[in-house]
Symmetry: C2
Subunit: 306 residues, 2 copies
Amino acid sequence: MAKRIEGVLSPVVTPFKRDLTPDPERYVRHCKWLLAHGCAGLAVFGTNSEANSLSVDERMMLLEALVQGGVPAAKLMPGTGMCALTDSVRLTAHAVKLGCAGVLMLPPFYYKGVSDEGLYRNFAEVIERVADPRLQVYLYHIPPVAQVPISLALIERLLKAYPGAVAGIKDSSGDWNNTKAVLEAFGKSGFDVFAGSEVFLLPNMRAGGKGCITATGNVNPAAINRVYENWKGTDADALQAGITATRAIVQKYPMMAALKAIIAHFARDPDWATVRPPLVELTPEQQRSLALELTSSGFEMPGLAG
Amino acid sequence: MAKRIEGVLSPVVTPFKRDLTPDPERYVRHCKWLLAHGCAGLAVFGTNSEANSLSVDERMMLLEALVQGGVPAAKLMPGTGMCALTDSVRLTAHAVKLGCAGVLMLPPFYYKGVSDEGLYRNFAEVIERVADPRLQVYLYHIPPVAQVPISLALIERLLKAYPGAVAGIKDSSGDWNNTKAVLEAFGKSGFDVFAGSEVFLLPNMRAGGKGCITATGNVNPAAINRVYENWKGTDADALQAGITATRAIVQKYPMMAALKAIIAHFARDPDWATVRPPLVELTPEQQRSLALELTSSGFEMPGLAG
């Protein structure tokens, strides 16, 4: 088994052309920039990737474009958890076949209040049907959006049944107490815990976690990676304060539209701001004030503009 | 323009074989039984159909199986609203091409707290891209599950922009005050309001609505249709009390598993009880007590057992 990804992962934003079709060329370019500027891996097709605004075929096309474009599959952790079991199986098998390091799996998120038994069956069916020893599943706990949580009892049951396949979790609950509880329960069982925001990166590393998978990794990967690289250092808290402050600026705006607006600004490529419905771009006024505030804070994205 | 469907519609439950693949044969048979026993139309691929547990290809295969199996497309109102715009367009265009009476469209339901502007763009893009004068869109308002509501302001804007295409709504809010507000605002503009449960069928008819689209229409269509047919009659309230009482029995159990268990029982076909994860079948004990309570109440499904 290859060594698992640790460090800073970005849920890569998905560029669209003006007609709202995905743009593989900008996508490959941004992924390479991220890997060159601090990302250890790319959690493509995450929440901030507008992944659920893409069809299964669009995701598969984009993933193949990345690999063909020279992004190493060993750096990729695509989101493959769908509402439909058959879609999750198809995407997961495709990712494993391409050699991806792992997959990040949302629970099926349409029905609310479903039982752990039903969620267990969902993940178990995917693992059984994909039936590939290379499969590494990272569970995606994001109750504020999916509204379907992944409980400690569910993790325990999955880890017991599939110790080789269940590799870790992204905790996007925004609740450090939950992350801590997961770390305490499973952190020493080869279960890799990633904070869902860089705000919790330092606490996560100090408690035995493996890094973070964070939206703002799309624009601020180098600084976030410095916290990861120096978490044992004397300046760790100061570095953490810096990335938390940058996130606070971005978070004043709707996150996905803001990330794309930042890339559009620093890449001098206005079309990057395009989002698919139901999301909406920032207004020109919002774009200006976000760029101004970031620039004033010393923020930059070196090498982004072609 | 053909006359629109009015009356009782069933969000048809989707039968699965033991290997969890959809079963077109049982599906066609159940759809024909529903149309022969009181359903004016079939809202296939609704919430209670486990539609979001099906891939796009599985939905298209099942819809074609219905039409090829002799279910009139003019009676069909398939669910075609997906998280991904491209999926919604593909399913909607497919349904229109097959001659379906209309489509029932969920808003994209992954992101929460999205703006009316973003939802408007989603529906508008689907209507513009399908670009077929036969398209009749019924909006699907089900905030308890989708968690993304369809506001009165959104309906107003869509009706104004696409008066020929925006045909009505299924209101599954469970909140009669919302249904009433929609009826008062748009009920006289050729906007057809369907209650999302037969519990509100009589009030909906009295306030200018066009019927109901209800889960229990899968098992109790004749009695529900009697309320629809006799809503002006002196015994309407008594008939309504009857169907409300039957629903109360079913609602003691998880709805979709219960509906399938009822069909399995009265069709003497145990495999009908199969559900896809994340749903879970009723326990044998639950199945027995549900069947017993229904039978004791005088409930029956004539002609279901082959």
